[in-house]
């Protein structure tokens, strides 16, 4: 069988099988419990009924996710350059960077509400906090993971520190940076959704998927909750796809992870 066709067919077949399994499971449940796993028809109806609301919330959450994610990417590059420039800076700053990731969002949330109030700025800050760490860890690692002989080559060529950083370490770190970016691309929409749930604002009709989920949950609309989850996943997929596209553009010509035989 044509391997190209197989590459499309297999994931498609799995999707159909999963949907069929879902539907079967729904009918296997005792009638009193079936509302926990709504059948596909009811899910479809939920999408039709709440489509406009979900689309608006998704746009808001996507915006917040992108803003937090973009900010994290930007700040992490600067922070990584700083961290990679000196071992002393690394040992001094690293514990505090970990702190950023370790403090639970649940605890930061009420503090953020007091400081900046509920709404978009808080949501973006939480998303930033969640997506920052994988980026800075991977990028710093990349800047430091340069072959010894290549560093020697630059030192013998009497490269300045700036030349060594930007002509050698930065390009060598690109694959690592994209690894961090991919992890953060998965975390950012989840982060924005959770943040909306915790520190979002309902005023002015500007709310994201988190608050939408909160409302559906309060109204016991299980099918709509599933629909919200699916929309959240789609946001994640879209961001990961965008990042993978960027990585492909930047690395395909030289990096071993894009060997011609793979295409």
């Amino acid at each position: 069988m044509n391997p190209r066709l197989l590459r499309w067919l297999l994931p498609l077949l799995l999707a159909v099988a999963l949907l069929a399994g879902w539907e079967t499971l729904h009918h296997l449940l005792p009638a009193s419990r079936r509302f926990l796993l709504p059948d596909l028809a009811r899910l479809g109806a939920a999408f039709r009924e709440h489509g406009a609301e979900l689309a608006r919330a998704a746009r808001y959450t996507a915006g917040a996710a992108l803003a937090g994610f973009g900010l994290a990417a930007l700040v992490s590059v600067g922070a990584s350059l700083l961290l990679a420039s000196s071992g002393l800076i690394r040992t001094t700053l690293y514990p505090y960077l970990m702190l950023l990731q370790m403090v639970p969002v649940i605890i930061i949330a009420p503090i953020l509400i007091l400081w900046v109030g509920p709404g978009a700025p808080s949501v973006i800050i939480v998303t930033f906090l969640i997506s920052f760490f994988p980026l800075v860890v991977n990028t710093t690692q990349g800047l430091l993971s340069v072959e010894r002989a290549q560093v020697d080559l630059f030192r013998m060529g009497r490269a300045s520190r700036l030349q060594e950083m930007f002509l050698l370490r930065v390009p060598a770190a690109l694959p690592y940076f994209f690894t961090g970016l991919r992890i953060s691309a998965i975390l950012a929409p989840i982060g924005a959704l959770t943040a909306d749930y915790l520190v979002g604002s309902t005023t002015g009709g500007l709310s994201g998927l988190g608050i939408t989920a909160l409302l559906f949950s309060a109204r016991n609309e299980i099918a709509a909750l599933y629909a919200t989850a699916l929309v959240g996943c789609l946001l994640g997929f879209a961001l990961v796809a965008a990042v993978s596209g960027l990585a492909w553009l930047a690395l395909r010509r030289w990096h071993d992870s894009y060997t011609p035989s793979d295409l």
Binding site: A149, L153, A159, L167, W254
Partner: protein, 258 residues
């Protein structure tokens, strides 16, 4: 009396508190010589090249290249054991790397790049990326990068060590052909006696613990040398002699065997 091109006076190198890698090594090399350094591992061959490159300082003793201290000289190129190409740059850009670090004017940089690619016969691969090249081609790019500096001295640290014998022989012949056109001095670290004899005007056999020169042998084979040289009885006899002496050194007896 004019001073020799390269001069090492009683050079000792130790790393930390470990026993010295090189001890009281004295060596003079004239301009235009092709000197091979051969010896068991731990004899400090690579360290010697690093000292000459200026990358590492000596512990004691003096080094001068053309009467100047190492590391201050623009005339020196280094070829590593691995090709150490930058995988994100194509062949052209790799050859230009060191010229860019010097902020050389574009016109001059491109002229040197093209000349160097021409010397290693890789002009047709100028736009290829390193991963598209064979091991031998990568090493030729690495050579071109060194040659683009238009050096007067080339330090080569086992440059053909990772290649198969065929490729290795071919590259050796190419290196000599390039030397016919560009007169530089070479210090060449190798593990292959045949390669050392084929390429050099002079062979130094180093003994380990601590590293020192055990034998200093001239090679009186006429240039140009080519595949016929490898069947020359004088060549074969010299290979046998160097091998015997090297074995004696490896077995801890640095006195001449003959």
């Amino acid at each position: 009396m004019p001073s020799p091109y390269i001069s090492l006076q009683s050079v000792t190198k130790r790393f930390g508190s470990a026993p010295p890698v090189l001890e009281a090594l004295t060596l003079e090399v004239e301009a235009g010589e092709f000197v091979s350094l051969i010896g068991p591992s731990g004899c400090g061959k690579s360290t010697l090249l690093k000292l000459l490159s200026g990358l590492t300082p000596t512990t004691s003793g003096g080094i001068s290249i053309d009467t100047r201290a190492p590391g201050l000289s623009d005339e020196l190129a280094y070829v590593f054991q691995d090709a150490t190409l930058l995988p994100w740059l194509n062949v052209s850009a790799n050859v230009e790397t060191l010229l860019r670090l010097r902020r050389m004017p574009t016109e001059e940089r491109l002229r040197r790049r093209d000349a160097a690619l021409d010397l290693v016969r890789l002009s047709s691969k100028a736009l290829a990326y390193p991963r598209q090249l064979s091991g031998g081609q990568k090493m030729r790019v690495s050579l071109a990068r060194a040659l683009a500096l238009e050096p007067r001295l080339i330090l080569l640290d086992e440059p053909f060590g990772a290649l198969d014998e065929m490729t290795r022989d071919h590259l050796g012949e190419e290196l000599l052909a390039i030397r016919e056109r560009q007169r530089w001095t070479a210090l060449f670290v190798t593990h292959s006696v045949a390669e050392a004899v084929f390429l050099s005007t002079r062979i130094l056999i180093l003994a380990p613990h601590p590293g020192r020169i055990a034998h200093d042998l001239p090679v009186h084979l006429p240039y140009p040398r080519n595949h016929k040289t490898r069947r020359d009885p004088a060549y074969l006899q010299l290979v046998a002699e160097v091998s015997t002496r090297l074995r004696a050194v490896e077995e801890g007896d640095p006195t001449p065997a003959s």
